[in-house]
Amino acid sequence: MNNLQSLSFFYPELLLTLVILFAIIYDLLIDSSESGKVGWVLVFGLVLVAIAIWFQDSSKVTTLFTDAVVLDPFSTFFKLLIILATIFVSVVSLYSNELRDYRKGEYFYLLGIITFGLFMMVSSIDLIMVYVSIEIVSIMSFVLAGYLKKNTRSNEAALKYVVYGAFSSGIMLFGLSYIYGLTGSTNFFQIQQILASSGSESNSAILMAVVMILAGFGYKVSAVPFHFWTPDVYEGSPTTITAYLSIAPKAGAFAMMIRFFNQVLADGGAMSGLGYFSTTDLPWASLISLLAVLTMTVGNVVAIQQDNIKRMLAYSSIAHAGYMLLAMPVMSGDSIYAIMVYLVMYLFMNLGAFFVVITIKNKTDGETFDDYKGLGWEMPIVGITMTLFMVSLTGLPPTAGFIGKFYIFASLIQGGGSFYWLVVIGGVNSVVSLYYYLRVVKVMYFDGDRKDSLVSPPKVLTAMLLATAVPTMVLGIYWVPIAKWIKESLVFFIQTI
């Protein structure tokens, strides 16, 4: 489909662009003290975009812009997910004390641009688009990570992020260049065709290239050993941005990774339920399995040592990336489904946990365990929701986190005996994770003095906590509609040449 025709299928993105432009202009018109209004503009705009996406008929899968991006239910699902995360984060950002002293207009439209980048990320089927979308997201993230200009930690986070980010995307680019060199194309499907028809003599080059590309993906989903930026950046960035980084780019990167592995390195047959069939005879499954195991183990194990809750959550997000990666090697429809389910569950519980961190930081200006002492008594709603999030992150029923893990484990077990060891390791890991998640609960309830006076956070924050807590709870008990929706979204564009 050529560029002009494509535009008619591209209206949600165009709408988003308009919203961003409007926000930029609006920001120029208003006073610094009112810059929060830009946030509402963004939120409102995003809602519109979401409606647009929701009513856009994506069931007829199609490629746009001469096969650069696709429109399919799979991308629609991720777009909605990303919008949801962005809306949550935007609203909370308005009430975060960290950002109080800064002009916020930029902040919000940068968020908007990231959203746009993520839209591209989840729908790109061309190496160029892959790189461009990753860069859009990354560059905006660098800025946002360093948004607290006067805060040296934020600066430091930004610096580390930018160096790591640029470096890994550079390496990825180098890897992409080899893929291009090997196949002469940047289009996923053509690459797949050529790889499938070529013999095994170029395997070593492919392997190297894919490892380099994995560096880029790994950096985005923060998989070990490309995760080193994560703790520092998460700790230093504004907490709202940390929350955002832990969800949205991760979701986008997963979407991208699924597409890449499923359409470039495999035969795309996963959707038909046939499971993974490698285009080349290289052991992608084992490679990703190894990555997944390393990721969750390192994430969980190192998280135990943390004293800073934000940093702990950073490691926890590494671990969760590991759980999701766990389902990747199966590459069956169910495993992708499981990852998608997990992402939904993860969105609520992880955002919720970060919102609690923000709430507490607003109150005590601290984010270490000591700052949480006795909090459960002082702020009952915060305490209870945090407990719920922690329990959910551990993966205990009846919470959303359990359902996510349940789907992941189920897809692995369905994948057959060769994946059982992954399940066992995943299970043991969740036991380990219990230790540090419960530490938060312990500190909140068991440590410190019980205070009789109650403190309540701002109403909007409370509402946001509930807005994440209620789904975390409810989805743990009844998730049929979500599962159904995801199931329907599990259609992505497959070009047969």
């Binding site: 060199g181 080059a205 190297m208 080193f228 390192v298 194990v301 190192v302 135990i304 040592q305 380990v432």
Partner: protein
């Protein structure tokens, strides 16, 4: 008729329980702390028992037997029935229990007057009587086992009546645990039998054995297992250790339980299960019994505590009975059980009476140091306590086996059985030697006790004025039981000769048949065993010889005792010195307690400590928590690795090395060049890989 026996049995069983319940809940609030409730209940059971006994005599049928049972536990195929078996043995045993129990109740009203737990004491007596009757009435192994344990508990509670004393508390625990050792065997025996026969009821078990459902070694083991229960309860070697310690309980309790009834339960059990004991099992029984008889007697010789003497004497006498079962004359064992119950209970009452008055005397003198039970503090009480003295003397003569007294008859029957057994099995000559040896020692130490207590000069003259005869609540039972130690009660109405045990109890052998008497031995169910009649005839043939020997032996024992303690023909101390280690061994009960403590209890406790340490300090702390620690350690190391190795060493380190080398060569350029080359080399490798296609 049939119904009335069962009904009476039910009443006999449950009345004491009722008394127990009333005492426990309301005893303290009743007038006289409710002792009349217990006495009333027990008296009714005595009346009922006597009624049953009389009825039994009237029926006069040795085969007399009533059974009734209910299904207690029903799982479909697996069921347990509980029930009564009322036959002559049962009724006689019920009578013994009821009689001694009543006596004990009455005796106790005086003996325990003013005790702080007076009502509870009577309650426990009720509980005991209930459980003991339960054992007696049981028609199956399971319910017997259950009451068996309950008896153990009541014994525990009564021995520990004065639990403030550590020794009493220790003794009660020891009694229970030692019994439990035996009970393990009992239970294993039950399981062996049940898994083969599929029923617990005696009749089924006997039939099962007769039909060969269980035989050979298994049956032997089952028999020995059941016998282990008896060993525990009847305090047989090597489980005898608890009974002497049990004397820490109030003396009436010792009389009731640790002399007459409870300890006899073991004998009762072996009598009951006699038909299923294989010859091998019987040999085990015989040797254990025989050895215990001699062994305990040898300890009794040197004891100075009056109750300890009686305790060891009880152990020894129980050994006798067990020996009798083992040699096949099990009705003789039961007969001895009967006579022994009377005279030994009486001896305990007598000793209780003595201790009671000693206690009072010491109390008057405000002396709380002197041991009121030590015979070395007594002497010359004969005139002060004539009733006690004469009754005890009668009982002593009975136990020593002097003709005209009951013990003579029963002991003679046992010894005859033993002797005949040895005659037919010469390799087991040891058994009669055990028997006669024990008889000799019994005569000796019993008279030693009498002489030391009642004769000679008072050892503590300052007390003698305060020594008085006990009140009639105490002397009454003493007189009664003393009277019952005379032979005539056991041979009536058929026989008045003191030399023959033929009477209402024992049958007469007439023309290869049992005639008269209510307790006929029955044939063993074990196929191929010698018949009861043959055993009886063998014993009958040995009867005279055994009688002469036993009279001689008793006479020698009594004479020696008189010679040493009255005539002072031999110095006790000199004897003790000359006997040296023998004396010390005997006096220290062969160091059994010490050795058990050293080689059994302490190692067990140490093992427990070790296991607990292993469990908690090692397994849990290092293994289980080790996982946690490992994770933690891994966490630290990984965290460190993250920062130190990757960040500091690899990333910064390269720079540092570069700097270092740069400084060394005073030119940054050179240093960098070398690193440069390194990375170029890496790049070249990448290229070479690509060139490979």
């Amino acid at each position: 008729m049939e119904n009335s026996f069962i009904l009476y049995s039910l009443l006999i069983l449950f009345l004491p329980l009722l008394a127990f319940v009333i005492q426990i809940f309301f005893g303290k609030r009743l007038p006289r702390e409710g002792d009349w409730v217990s006495i009333g209940a027990i008296s009714i059971t005595l009346i009922l028992a006597i009624t049953m006994f009389v009825k039994m005599l009237l029926v006069g049928d040795p085969e007399f037997k009533h059974e009734a049972s209910i299904v207690w536990l029903d799982m479909g195929a697996f069921t347990i029935s509980l029930g009564f078996l009322v036959d002559n043995i049962t009724i006689i045993m019920l009578l013994i229990v009821a009689l001694i129990s009543t006596c004990t109740h009455i005796f106790s009203t005086e003996y325990l007057k003013g005790d702080i737990r007076y009502s509870r004491y009577f309650g426990y007596l009720g509980l005991f009587t209930f459980s003991m009757n339960g054992i007696v009435l049981a028609n199956n192994l399971m319910s017997m086992y259950m009451f068996w344990e309950l008896v153990g508990v009541s014994s525990y509670l009564l021995i520990g009546h004065w639990f403030e004393k550590d020794s009493a508390a220790d003794a009660s625990k020891k009694a229970f645990l030692t019994n439990r050792v035996g009970d393990i065997g009992f239970f294993i025996g039950i399981m062996l039998i049940y898994s083969a026969v599929g029923s617990f009821a005696f009749t089924d078990v006997f039939d099962g054995v007769a039909s060969g459902m269980i035989a050979g070694t298994t049956l032997t083991f089952a028999g020995v297992g059941l016998f282990m229960g008896a060993m525990g309860k009847s305090s047989q070697f090597p489980l005898h250790i608890w009974l002497p310690d049990a004397m820490e309980g109030p003396t009436p309790v010792s009389a009731l339980m640790h002399a007459a009834t409870m300890v006899a339960a073991g004998v009762y059990l072996t009598v009951r299960i006699f038909p299923i004991l294989t010859p091998d099992a019987l040999l085990v029984v015989a040797y254990v019994g025989g050895f215990t008889a001699l062994f305990a007697a040898s300890i009794a010789i040197t004891q100075t505590d009056i109750k300890k003497v009686l305790a060891y004497s009880t152990v020894s006498q129980l050994g006798y009975m067990i020996l009798a079962v083992g040699t096949g004359v099990y009705t003789a064992a039961f007969f001895h059980l009967l006579t022994h119950a009377m005279f030994k209970a009486n001896l305990f009452y007598g000793s209780g009476s003595v201790i009671h008055s000693m206690h009072h005397a010491l109390h008057e003198k405000h002396d709380h140091e002197t041991d009121p039970q030590d015979m070395h503090n007594m002497g010359g009480f004969k005139d002060k306590m004539p009733i006690t003295y004469w009754s005890m003397l009668i009982s002593t003569m009975a136990i020593a086996g002097v003709p005209l007294f009951s013990g003579f008859l029963s002991k003679d029957a046992i010894l005859a059985g033993t002797l005949s057994f040895a005659q037919h099995h010469p390799e087991h000559l040891l058994l009669p030697l055990f028997g006669f040896g024990a008889a000799l020692m019994t005569a000796f130490y019993m008279f030693r006790m009498i002489f030391l207590t009642f004769h000679g000069e008072p050892k503590m003259p300052e007390l003698i004025d305060d020594i008085h005869e006990s009140p009639k609540e105490m002397t009454g039972p003493i007189v009664l039981l003393g009277t019952l130690s005379v032979y005539i009660w056991y041979t009536l109405p058929n026989n008045l000769s003191p030399m023959s045990s033929y009477g209402w109890f024992n049958p007469k052998l007439d023309n290869h048949n049992f005639k008269g008497g209510l307790v006929h031995p029955i044939d063993s169910s074990v196929p191929g065993s010698i018949s009861a009649l043959e055993i009886a005839e063998h014993a009958h043939h040995a009867h005279h010889m055994a009688m002469y020997i036993s009279i001689a032996v008793a006479a020698i024992g009594i004479f020696l005792s008189w010679f040493i303690y009255i005539k002072k023909g031999l110095s006790v101390n000199a004897l003790a010195e000359r006997a040296g280690f023998l004396y010390r061994w005997s006096f220290n009960k062969y160091y059994f307690d010490e050795n058990y403590n050293k080689y059994l209890y302490q190692p067990t406790l140490r093992l427990a400590d070790k296991v607990s340490w292993l469990d908690w300090e090692l397994y849990d702390k290092y293994f289980i928590n080790g996982f946690g620690r490992l994770t933690n350690w891994a966490s630290k190391v990984t965290g460190k690795f993250d920062f130190d190795v990757i960040d500091q060493l690899l990333v910064d380190g390269t720079g540092k090395i570069a700097n270092l080398i740069g400084r060394k060569f005073k030119g940054v350029q050179t240093g960098k060049l070398q690193n440069y080359v390194l990375y170029v080399a890496a790049g070249v490798i990448i290229l070479m890989v690509i060139q490979s296609f």
